[in-house]
């Protein structure tokens, strides 16, 4: 009964909030701005903080007219999308691996390293050339090695990556390019240009928390930029650009905080909040208090009367909301320093319904086997997943050895798209649609042979190994609660990234670990040694041949023996003629 009343209250609050939002968005006509920070205490003792900054630019771009006047939208990205006729652009930089089993699902998943996928508009004629140019420009904007994206690591997935924004009907995967750089190391130089894209920079609002020395002192760091076309209003008569900048970070405060389980904004980011960005129409902090309805687990201070409920990743969660646009939030000290003190360390997390892992088996440097394991933890429902595997050309897949086994039986994929590699041109692409039986592990194995590279193709540290990008598993996971169908303003940002129309299931994307594979590596001083050795052998052979051909041979008088010579010397001394 109490819970019911609570929910009722939350719904009312939600309604109230949405009214505020709508009135605020009417104020600015040429785009608006929403900022958000979600903090979720994880059961492992870690803290998951997820920032999202959303800029909407109400401009009609699909009709091909040139837009060149920027207000909130960053000019550098605007120029990129209009020059390269980009329809959708998703780029992420991640340091560390998201541990799904310990941390649950992230709001915006991303693989380790850099990931870039782009849908071009269908007016683009030479997609490959445009893609090449685009990666070079993005590499300059984000100070990353995206210029290493070439045809050997670019894919055209046929089913896994569908446009997330509104489209004009065409989902022809000719206009899609996908690439990952699992080796990419993300650091401050990538964060600075990312922060520059925010309208308030890091001068005001939530972005003041983004201090690089704290953000990179964490277990997981991921920053991403997503640009897509969205509807301007409910009728969707006109479209606008949406730019979402997301930053997810997981702090391990339990070990760094002298084993005291408590945290605050100041402890995590070494800053407190004093104001919202004046350009943002909404700026909020959400704290996940689902597992703490009666404050039996932790204590949150300062307390907030605002509660909000949202369905995110198939689960109904309750959040305490701090609205930074209200002066009340900052209290009398004019600064907000959220604090959580844990009371008990008990409680367990709902196991994520889908997770996956991947590893390489085998010994020696000739062959090996890739194992991909997908877990369906749902007790009674099976659901379909799309597996996307991209393997570089120097691991030659034996596709006839492909085996899919769940619960000890063969599991026949209902759709397979396999594109064999071409040496030094394109990677292997394997896409499969599989049905994961309830409460099961599905294992996909495929054998491969390691190729020998040319000596200039090795990386500077070849003995470190070669990276193989993560597998991507996209699926519709059965939801534990029913979803609202209308995607409107009142939803918080973190719950509305993947559009979802289905009520009983939600979309989830899971990335496996990248693989590190050793290739047969030569001794790199070998070429010179070989040259010297062969030259010497040739010279010796040639020398004796030359001698044989040019010298003349004649019989010589054999030398007198030693005894005879000594005898002759003695005879000469005696004045006797020699022998």
């Amino acid at each position: 009964m109490a819970a019911h009343r609570c929910r009722y209250l939350a719904c009312l609050l939600l309604l109230f909030l949405s009214v505020i939002l709508v009135t605020m968005s009417q104020e600015t006509t040429l785009g608006h701005e929403q900022h958000e920070l979600v903090i979720r205490p994880l059961h492992s003792g870690d803290i998951y903080a997820s920032f999202q900054f959303r800029t909407v630019w109400e401009t009609d771009f699909m009709k091909g007219n040139k837009v060149s006047h920027y207000r909130l939208f960053p000019k550098s990205l605007g120029q990129v999308i209009s020059k390269f006729s980009v329809r959708e652009l998703h780029i992420s930089f991640t340091q560390g691996y998201w541990r799904t089993m310990q941390w649950g699902q992230p709001f915006i998943p991303s693989p380790p390293g850099a990931e870039l996928w782009v849908w071009f508009q269908d007016s683009v004629t030479d997609v490959d050339a445009t893609w090449k140019e685009l990666t070079n420009v993005l590499s300059g904007i984000f100070c990353a090695s995206l210029n290493f994206i070439d045809s050997t690591n670019t894919l055209q997935p046929s089913a896994s990556f569908k446009p997330l924004g509104i489209g004009n009907g065409t989902t022809d995967h000719r206009f899609l390019r996908y690439a990952t750089l699992p080796r990419e190391i993300v650091c401050t130089e990538n964060l600075t240009p990312w922060k520059k894209l925010l309208p308030c920079g890091s001068k005001a609002g939530l972005a003041v928390l983004l201090k690089s020395e704290k953000l990179f002192h964490s277990s997981f760091h991921s920053q991403s930029v997503h640009i897509r076309p969205v509807c301007q209003d409910r009728q969707c008569k006109s479209s606008s650009w949406e730019l979402r900048q997301a930053l997810n970070v997981v702090f391990d405060l339990h070990t760094s905080g002298q084993s005291k389980r408590e945290w605050s904004l100041f402890k995590m980011f070494s800053r407190t909040l004093t104001e919202a960005c004046p350009l943002a129409s909404s700026s909020k902090i959400y704290i996940d208090v689902t597992d703490n309805p009666q404050e039996e687990q932790f204590e949150l201070s300062p307390a907030t009367p605002l509660l909000s409920q949202a369905v995110v990743l198939g689960d109904r969660r309750t959040f305490s909301v701090y609205d930074l646009t209200q002066q009340v939030t900052f209290g009398t000290v004019r600064s907000l320093n959220l604090m959580i003190r844990w009371k008990s360390s008990e409680g367990d997390m709902l196991r994520p319904l889908l997770h996956a892992e991947r590893y390489v088996t085998g010994y020696g440097l000739q062959t090996g086997e890739i194992h991909t394991l997908m877990y369906n933890n749902h007790p009674f429902r099976s659901f379909p997943v799309l597996l996307l595997d991209s393997v570089p050309w120097y691991l030659r897949l034996y596709i006839h050895t492909l085996k899919v086994i769940s619960k000890g039986k063969d599991n026949n994929p209902s759709y397979i798209h396999y594109q064999p590699s071409k040496d030094r041109e394109r990677p292997h692409l394997l896409e499969m649609l599989l049905q994961l039986p309830p409460h099961s592990v599905t294992e996909v194995t495929v054998q491969f042979e390691r190729a020998l590279l040319k000596w200039t193709e090795y990386t500077p540290d070849p003995n470190h190994g070669f990276y193989v990008g993560s597998s991507v598993i996209s699926s519709l996971v059965p939801s534990t609660v029913a979803m609202e169908t209308n995607i409107t303003m009142e939803q918080p940002l973190f719950s509305s990234f993947f559009p979802c129309k289905e009520e009983s299931s939600y979309f989830a994307r899971v990335y496996t670990e990248p693989l590190l594979v050793n290739l047969p590596t030569p001794d790199f001083s070998m070429p010179y040694n070989v040259i010297c050795l062969t030259c010497t052998v040739v010279a010796v052979g040639y020398g004796s041949l030359y001698n044989l051909l040019t010298r003349s041979f004649q019989v010589e008088e054999p030398n007198p023996g030693l005894a005879k010579r000594i005898a002759n010397v003695i005879r000469r001394m005696r004045g006797v003629p020699p022998l």
């Binding site: 909130l72 550098s76 309208p199 920079g201 001068k203 005001a204 010179y528 010297c532 040739v538 030359y546």
Partner: protein, 562 residues
């Protein structure tokens, strides 16, 4: 004895044939396989480019209105005259200017146009009668009785390519045509100095090619102010709002660009492509803290500190991701509420009336004070609409300077028509086109010659066919541009000069040239010695042995003969 002799001969033959094989087969094979690909370049033509003789010629029409010539003077009026000038700028560059002057009397319609009440109207109706081609100019000579020009004005220079010149009564009284023309000549020359190319402009345009001692400080600052010639420019207007908490700024940049900037750029379109964009930057600060002046109750930014303003702002401006053309930045800075009003002072501690300054080859900054637009009791944030006419007036003036339009005061007695809504007179465009063509040709010739020199010096650089093609097309375009300049076709000359600069830059910055197959000599020896030393030493030794034997035998033969 005989067998040993046969053996010796056989050995010698074997050594000789091995040496022959090595020389005939081995050496060419080695040469072939280690050679770098170098396409043919027109080196002789490039060498010719290092000696540049530019010949600029322009047509001038001198039209005598009724009342300036007596009937017999009219009869003897020559049809054409040429004015020639030659300057040797340095030992490799020679400039020649030719003005082809045509004389005629005015037609009835032109007389009618000259009879208009004001010079501006006359200018317009003369333009309607006939449009003179690009690069040419027309001078109308009117009698002193005409009321077209104000009292103390001798020459009126119109918005198009026409000038109106008034002659005095004593200049023509009782003189022959030759004498009259001799009197007119310096005046016409003065007019052409303003309307057509001038020697200072052209030498300034050659600065990329010729290093000459700077003349006056003034001319040097002028030559360094304008952007160098480029096939395209990006113009970026940025509104800097350091304090979005108190000021909410609105500017109608789309409308302002359409009204003020676009007509100017459309007129300039034969010169280069321009693209415009704008952005708003929040929390963007200037690099210096302006000092507060108690007497004025205002903040003062002194001219000495302006140099430090730009750098911190520039980091926020962002580079242009979509093209590699030079960017012209125009910043409108609205000082925050705590630091306003803000005024810029020049070196004489006087307020700059426009409250703006420009930075050579970079752009302009204008400070726009909004403090007086709201009272002290205003509620923050204040909504402020920026007066774009005021801002764009300043930016357009700066843009004119940065594009290379000189606004030096005209000589005494000259009246220059105001440039009107377009912001640019036809003859100003012509002047710019002359100097741009010369600049393009100068830059392209230096680029090509230095590229050829580089390729000549470093034998290891691979020259691909596409580079050779770019270089040849650049050379052909240079020759065409020079020829068109000589023929007086300014439009074509500029077109070819743009092509040549594109082709030469493309060749010079081609990435395949960087892909240098560079092996240091010591490494080469380290690889060659193990193979070549053991092979060549026996061959050389046996050849030497044979030679010495042959010489010995020859001497023996000589001795026998003696």
């Amino acid at each position: 004895m005989a067998t040993t002799e046969v053996e010796r001969r056989r050995g010698q033959l074997a050594a000789l044939s091995i040496a022959a094989v090595v020389i005939v087969v081995g050496v060419p094979l080695w040469w072939r396989t280690t050679e770098t690909y170098r396409a043919w370049l027109p080196f002789s033509q490039i060498k010719d480019l290092s000696k540049l003789q530019l010949h600029l010629s322009a047509d001038v029409e001198v039209v005598f209105a009724r009342g300036t010539l007596t009937p017999e003077q009219q009869k003897k009026l020559p049809l054409t005259q040429t004015q020639d000038e030659e300057h040797a700028v340095d030992e490799n560059t020679v400039l020649r200017y030719t003005h082809e002057i045509k004389y005629r009397t005015a037609t009835i319609m032109e007389e009618e146009a000259l009879g208009k009440p004001t010079a501006a109207e006359a200018d317009l109706s003369l333009h309607m009668l006939s449009e003179s081609p690009c690069g040419s100019s027309v001078v109308y000579v009117i009698p002193e009785v005409s009321s077209l020009l104000p009292e103390n004005v001798k020459v009126y220079i119109g918005q198009r390519r026409t000038a109106i010149l008034r002659i005095n009564a004593e200049m023509r009284a009782g003189k022959t045509v030759e004498q009259l023309l001799a009197v007119l000549k310096p005046q016409i020359k003065q007019v052409l100095q303003v309307m057509s190319f001038s020697h200072t402009d052209i030498t300034a345009a050659l600065s990329d090619r010729v290093r000459f001692n700077p003349g006056s400080k003034e001319s040097m600052t002028h030559s360094m102010r304008a952007f160098t010639s480029s096939p395209g420019y990006e113009i970026t207007f940025s509104l800097l709002n350091p304090d979005p908490r108190s000021h909410r700024l609105h500017w109608d940049i789309e409308g302002a660009v359409q009204t003020y900037i676009q007509p100017f750029l459309t007129k300039l379109s034969p010169l280069a492509n321009f693209s415009i964009d704008s952005q708003m930057l929040h929390y963007a600060m200037l690099g210096v803290n302006p000092r507060y002046n108690n007497d004025r109750g205002a903040f003062i930014l002194h001219a000495d500190s302006l140099a430090h303003v730009i750098n911190p702002v520039e980091a926020r401006l962002g580079s242009n991701a979509a093209s590699s053309n030079p960017v012209l930045n125009f910043l409108l800075y609205v000082p925050d509420a705590q630091h306003s009003p803000l005024y810029i002072q020049d070196h004489k501690k006087m307020d700059v009336p426009s409250n703006a300054f420009h930075s050579p080859r970079w752009g302009g900054i204008m400070v726009y004070n909004v403090k007086n637009l709201y009272g002290p009791e205003a509620e923050f944030p204040v909504n402020i609409n920026i007066n774009m006419a005021e801002v764009m007036g300043v930016f357009l003036t700066q843009l004119r300077l940065l594009v290379g339009m000189e606004s030096s005061p005209p000589p005494p007695g000259f009246l220059v028509a105001p440039c009107g809504s377009v912001g640019l007179a036809d003859w100003e465009l012509d002047r710019l086109m002359w100097s741009r063509s010369v600049e393009n040709i100068a830059t392209a010739t230096t680029t090509i010659t230095s590229l050829a020199q580089l390729l000549d010096q470093i034998g290891n650089i691979v020259i691909n066919d596409n580079i050779a093609q770019q270089v040849s097309s650049a050379v052909t375009s240079v020759q065409l541009a020079v020829a068109e300049l000589e023929a007086g076709n300014l439009g074509f000359a500029l077109q070819y000069s743009k092509e040549t600069i594109l082709a030469s830059e493309k060749a010079f910055f081609d990435p395949s040239l960087l892909h240098l197959l560079y092996f240091p000599d010591d490494q080469k020896f380290a690889i060659y010695i193990p193979l070549f030393l053991p092979m060549c030493v026996p061959i050389l030794l046996s050849l030497l042995k044979m030679a010495s034997e042959a010489r010995r035998r020859y001497r023996e033969k000589q001795a026998k003969k003696d």
